[in-house]
């Protein structure tokens, strides 16, 4: 099982900036910091999630020279206390090696001192895990201690306004391999490096219907290596106007939507593996499948899954693109709105509620029990919350296409910056960027005041048991 580090770009860029002084000259001194991490464990990997970095204050660095750095005991104790108080997984010691440039490696001093420090911390709290990273000017090397075992770390995933992947093996960045010729025409937009990352990425697509089926198609043809595709529904004839590849036979035989898409992607032979999961994203076991992903794309049309995905993004430091379309109006009054939207959520961005994309009234109705929802409907004031939403493939394509362009931008930036959300209005033929949250809540428990940011598996259970998840599904 490989061990990786996941960190927000705000933390990573600040860390690199604060450590930059270490690399100005041969006489520059070592510096460093202690970070606190949560953990996300799957069958194939262990990701340490940086929840917070405790920047050293006055007196926190006991000794700093060109070849040594000693953190003060009180600094280490403070960090260790916080790990225990916040029920985090462990401490990450970060320090620089000023004399190292293209490669990074631990010194004999590190090799002799670190195990002793780990042993001391574990004696105080046996559950403590420790990781250590040494930074050179252009590389970084990491190792992970659990009990008496120590193993090298593999990669850093930097999550935020772009998605970066760095090696933790101490080697200088290698030139990416040349991609297969089928991707030649896309290289102007997604070059070799970005393409190699996309090929190595696992992208979660939640929803395999109108926008989801198109999203899968775009990802596969862009060179994505692995897709985790989640949807609980079967193909019905009313879906055939918008699910790419779905056939009359699929509807007649009630094929699971995810299986239809997996079948078609496999048949194409474009080297994309699809793991299809027929289940509700509200089910905690299904939701946990997204832990293996480096990007999650929400193609859902309800508030409750969006809430769960926003929380997942915060707790597991996962970037999350959300798509939506809307056709509003009545037969009597005519068409009032034809909109497509894409939003981007990260741990350092507002959630969809604060953005004003999802409203708490819809969420309230969806998260009542089935019986309670029936009673609300009988009272006659929630009809608007259960209307069958019109949807057409051509409008869905606009949202999916924009989301794919945003995904490409995250890997190889070409826009000045990503807004929080973009709405395309096809009646006025205008596009509106939202750059500040329209419904910001200062103490929002999903984003601004989320106590579980970066806790991963150490945080509360996300999603619901199977029975409860099923009770929230449409009747």
């Amino acid at each position: 099982m490989g061990t990786n580090l996941r960190i927000t770009d705000r933390h990573w860029d600040t860390l690199r900036k604060r450590c930059a002084a270490s690399f100005r000259s041969w006489t520059s001194k070592e510096t460093g910091a202690i970070a606190l991490f949560g953990r996300s464990v799957t069958e194939s990997s262990r990701d340490l999630l940086v929840s917070e970095i405790l920047w050293p204050g006055p007196g926190d660095i006991k000794e700093a020279g060109t070849g040594n750095l000693v953190f003060d005991g009180s600094y280490i104790r403070r960090a260790h206390m916080l790990v225990r108080e916040r029920r985090l997984a462990g401490l990450l010691f970060i320090h620089t090696h000023p004399h190292q440039d293209e490669t990074a490696s631990f010194s004999p001093y590190d090799d002799s001192e670190e195990p002793e420090l780990v042993a001391n911390l574990c004696e105080i709290e046996p559950q403590t895990t420790v990781a250590s990273i040494v930074l050179s000017k252009h590389a970084q090397f990491g190792r992970y201690y659990e009990g008496e075992t120590c193993e090298p770390m593999q990669r850093i995933f930097v999550v935020g306004e772009t998605l970066r992947e760095l090696s933790l093996t101490g080697t200088a960045p290698q030139p990416p391999p040349s991609p297969a010729s089928i991707f030649d025409r896309g290289r102007a937009l997604t070059g070799n490096g970005a393409l190699a990352r996309l090929a190595g990425m696992t992208v979660g697509v939640v929803g395999a219907s109108g926008t989801g089926s198109l999203m899968v198609e775009f990802l596969v043809r862009a060179g994505c290596g692995r897709i985790v595709l989640i949807d609980s529904d079967l193909v019905k004839d009313v879906n055939l106007n918008r699910i790419l590849h779905a056939s009359v036979w699929d509807a007649e035989t009630r094929q699971p939507k995810v299986e239809v898409l997996r079948r078609e992607v496999t048949w194409k032979g474009l080297r994309c593996e699809v793991r299809s999961i027929k289940g509700s994203i509200l089910d905690e076991r299904v939701l946990a499948e997204l832990k293996t992903c480096q990007l999650v794309i929400g193609c859902v049309d309800r508030a409750l899954p969006r809430e769960v995905l926003c929380k997942l993004s915060q707790q597991y430091l996962l970037p999350y693109l959300d798509l939506g379309t809307e056709i509003g109006g009545t037969e009597e009054s005519g068409i009032a709105s034809v909109d497509s939207r894409v939003s981007y959520v990260t741990p350092d961005r507002p959630c969809l509620f604060c953005m004003g994309v999802v409203d708490s009234r819809q969420l309230s109705f969806e998260s009542l029990s089935r019986e309670e929802r029936k009673r609300r409907l009988a009272l006659g004031y929630s009809d608007d919350l259960v209307m069958t939403q019109p949807a057409v493939m051509d409008l869905n394509a606009r949202a999916s296409s924009m989301a794919m362009m945003w995904a490409r931008h995250l890997l190889q930036p070409f826009m000045a910056s990503l807004p929080l959300a973009v709405y395309e209005n096809l009646i006025t033929l205008t596009t509106r960027s939202i750059s500040s949250p329209r419904a910001a809540t200062q103490n929002c428990s999903i984003c601004a005041a989320n106590r579980y940011r970066g806790l991963g598996d150490m945080g509360p259970r996300l999603g619901y048991d199977e029975l409860t998840a099923a009770s929230f599904m449409d009747d």
Binding site: L304, S360, L363, E366, C444
Partner: protein, 134 residues
């Protein structure tokens, strides 16, 4: 299921002396407030119990409407807005009430809570606050 935020708020209300309770019945969380004072007349009693359904995603989801313990007379008859299906929860008979936040004073996520919703619910008995009923 009982949302943690609701459980925490009810515990805080109890510490302040409020007669509130939180419970789960058939996978739905409810809060029951006992002996909420109401004006009599026009109501047939000086106090009543009320119950609020709490969505599983509270505090991100808003609260809306409430149930009142029935029977509860009003001006010698039934109040026209106590018109939901009568249900039995926690061994009591309850009836739903359409009592919503008016357009000019919507639920404010992060500011409103169970305490403020109880105040909003009391407004029904005092005939003040919300303007839309149905």
């Amino acid at each position: 299921m009982i949302p943690q935020a609701a459980a925490d708020e009810v515990a805080a209300l109890k510490r302040r002396g409020a007669r509130v309770d939180i419970f789960d019945e058939n996978q739905q969380c409810y809060i029951k407030a006992d002996a909420v004072e109401i004006p009599s007349p026009p109501w047939a009693a000086t106090a009543t119990d009320i119950m609020i359904a709490i969505p599983a995603t509270y505090e991100n989801a808003e609260l809306d409407g409430f149930y009142v313990a029935v029977p509860l007379g009003w001006n010698g008859a039934a109040h026209p807005r106590i018109n939901g299906t009568a249900i039995t929860i926690n061994g009591r008979q309850w009836q739903g009430i359409s009592w919503h936040y008016p357009d000019g004073r919507k639920w404010m996520r992060g500011a409103d809570n169970i305490d403020s919703h109880l105040t909003h619910c009391r407004g029904f008995f005092l005939h003040r606050g919300a303007t839309n009923g149905y």
